[in-house]
């Protein structure tokens, strides 16, 4: 083979591999990515039952119920809409009512979001970025100086125990 032929062989081989890789990537991008939605977007976009997506929002206060065999149900809210969620398994350490959460799964025909993963947070101040953005858009997010959500404590509640006598 001449130098040119060798070169062509190699370039041809490289193009083949790249074409295969591109095919794999396009195929995977079609099938295996999941979109992120908030409860309001779910009703807006009319997401079909069975489509996998990531649901983000706040866990509504008082909505967490534990059933038998580690089954749990709670409601995710984004301020304007809510969506019931069921999950079976162990919730992450920092799962709390009133805190942000991201769950992955699909809606069943009854309109309940069946989650197979509830994402763990690794910091008490950490708010999933998608959730923060979505809440900001709706003006539900007040940012404190250090990025924490501001919890209003009315002064009338109770003077903190002071050093008087």
């Amino acid at each position: 083979m001449t130098r040119k032929q060798r070169r062509l062989t190699m370039i041809g081989g490289a193009l083949c591999v790249l074409a295969i890789a591109a095919g794999l990537v396009l195929n995977a991008l079609r099938d295996s990515i999941v979109f992120f939605s908030t409860p309001a977007m779910v009703s807006e976009k009319k997401i079909q039952p069975g489509t996998r997506f990531r649901l983000g929002g706040m866990v509504e206060q008082g909505s967490l119920k534990r059933g038998d065999n580690l089954a749990v149900s709670f409601t995710v809210s984004d301020g304007s809409a809510t969506l019931p969620v069921t999950f079976k398994g162990i919730l992450p350490d920092l799962f709390r009512e009133g805190q942000g959460v991201v769950a992955e799964g699909a809606i069943d025909p009854a309109g309940v979001f069946k989650a197979d993963t509830v994402l763990a947070k690794h910091d008490e101040n950490y708010m999933p970025k998608e959730v923060a953005d979505a809440l900001k858009k709706q003006g539900r997010w007040q940012e404190g100086a250090d990025g924490k959500p501001v919890i209003g404590v009315s002064d009338s509640a109770q003077p903190k125990p002071v050093v008087t006598q």
């Binding site: 794999l24 990537v25 995977a28 295996s32 979109f35 580690l70 008490e124």
Partner: protein, 661 residues
Amino acid sequence: MIAEVGHYALVLALALALIQATVPVVGAYVRDAALMTVARSAALAQLLFVLVSFGALTALYVTSDFSVVNVVENSHSLKPLLYKITGVWGNHEGSMLLWVSILALFGGLVAAFGANLPLSLRAHVLAVQAWIATAFYLFILITSNPFLRTLNPPLEGRDLNPVLQDIGLAVHPPMLYLGYVGFSISFSFAVAALIEGRIDAAWARWVRPWTLMAWICLTLGIAMGSYWAYYELGWGGWWFWDPVENASLMPWLSGTALLHSAVVMEKRNALKVWTILLAILTFSLSLLGTFLVRSGVLTSVHAFATDPTRGVFILLILCVFIGGSLALYAWRASALKQGGLFAPLSREGALVLNNLFLTTACATVFIGTLYPLALEVVSGDKISVGAPFFNLTFAPLFVPLMLAMPFGPLLAWKRGDIAGASQRLMAAAIAALIAMAVLWAWTSGGASLAPLAIGLAVFVIGGALSDLVERTQLFRAPFATAMRRAQGLPRATWGTVFAHAGVGVALIGIVCETTWNTEYIGALKPGGVATVGGYALRLDGLTQQQGPNFRAQIATFSVRNGNGDEIGVMTPSKRNFTARASSTTEAALLTRGFSQLYVSLGEVTADGGQSVRIYHKPLVLLIWFGPLLMAFGGLLSLSDRRLRVGAPKPAKQARGLQPAE
């Protein structure tokens, strides 16, 4: 005074870096040896001052000097000494200081042990190194200064995130940085070669030890990070395709490709232009990794508190260095002379194939990591690209790579004999087929992919051993001859064998863990028994304990094997840190051979049961044992005497460079 001395030392390091970035280049231009040598002493002095600076910050953490803002925000006077020290790089500012310290360390090493380099090449390499250093010193001083003080020092600091109070933090980031930053040397060599307009086989040998060093550290760093996530995060996963993990995997893939293409260049003076490009890309990916973690464009476990100015600054550094070096490449690469010829079926051909697959795999990771960002900018849709994407793209590309891997070392340079190589791999192929058949029969039609993958892994390991057998002529020559030949083999050959076998070993671990992992998730009451993977775990009791800054809920499990013999006690716990109102899960691990039992706790259920996750993970330790083997192979290769020759004073300097011996 400590804080101010550290601060001033950092400023001086910047000033020295600026001098080191310019004077040697001028010196090379006017061909004045003294000016070129300024690079060397400036690099050493720069290293000294950065070490003073880093030492000062460490001292501030150890003495808990709360007049320094960075210490207040990340430390606490009652924290154990070890975590005070590791806390230095557990935050953004401190970790950037560690980053430049390692950069200066590599510059200093080139200055100290680079006497075998032509003077002008060394001057250029160190100058390019100083350009990078200057950019990062400015970044630290302007946007992330760890030495800023507060006029009203508080009495106590804010403590470190409890998840980060772990020995894993002590070693994982420095190791990873050694890898990331180590590739800056290959980058500097590449840019220096482009500036000088000459590059030849010798260049590859000069760069090789540095690339190898960085690669070893990155391999170990990634493996440690993975093991840390495995036992600390409490859900038994060891790789999440998290963007930041991907950010460390990308330079590893292209760095591995670089190692292999540099061999072709060293031996055959070929693939020169490609090797230069790889060197530039590898470091660019390291910089990209730094950008992704620091800028806040991605959310991840690892993301430090972020700040837009920092992101913009790093993006600027990224554009200047990647854009600048690629522009230089486009301008100068065509001037480089073509190298040796080879047939597609040859050692060179095999290494080209290796490069092709590794870089393509790297590209798929790149797409999977950055596509969500691009899509969000373009259409506003938020998506997540997770494990399914990578399983569908990354894995199929690795299969042909691993199939071809055993052939490479058996092929001759220039023109290889594929039939002969296949013949020599017969034993390995037979072993692989037997492994497949046995597994197939044993699992009786379960997952069909798993036996195939294990067969592939056995083929890779067998191939590595065949190469060894071939070279020592074991089984053909008398044993004593074979041993003598084994001793005569270059260490680099041994290194190849170990590293390639390591890939196979890791694959076995990965396949076994993902396929035959058994788990139990449920609630247990004291006295309750869960059976997982042939082991019976009995919950003996739950206790409360008070730690230094947390309360722990501890469960005690006694473990019995299939015969009913008690083989151990496991005590997973859950820690509540009142100061930060957060909790961590401490998983308990019980190792049996290379397999592990893994127990982590969930919350207490309404009826008083303790929810637990129990996994039996067969051969899981092989996942990390494989990278260890690879790194060991790298060390062997690094200690090869061939990498040490060429220095005017070889004996003395070589010893300093090769601590492995």
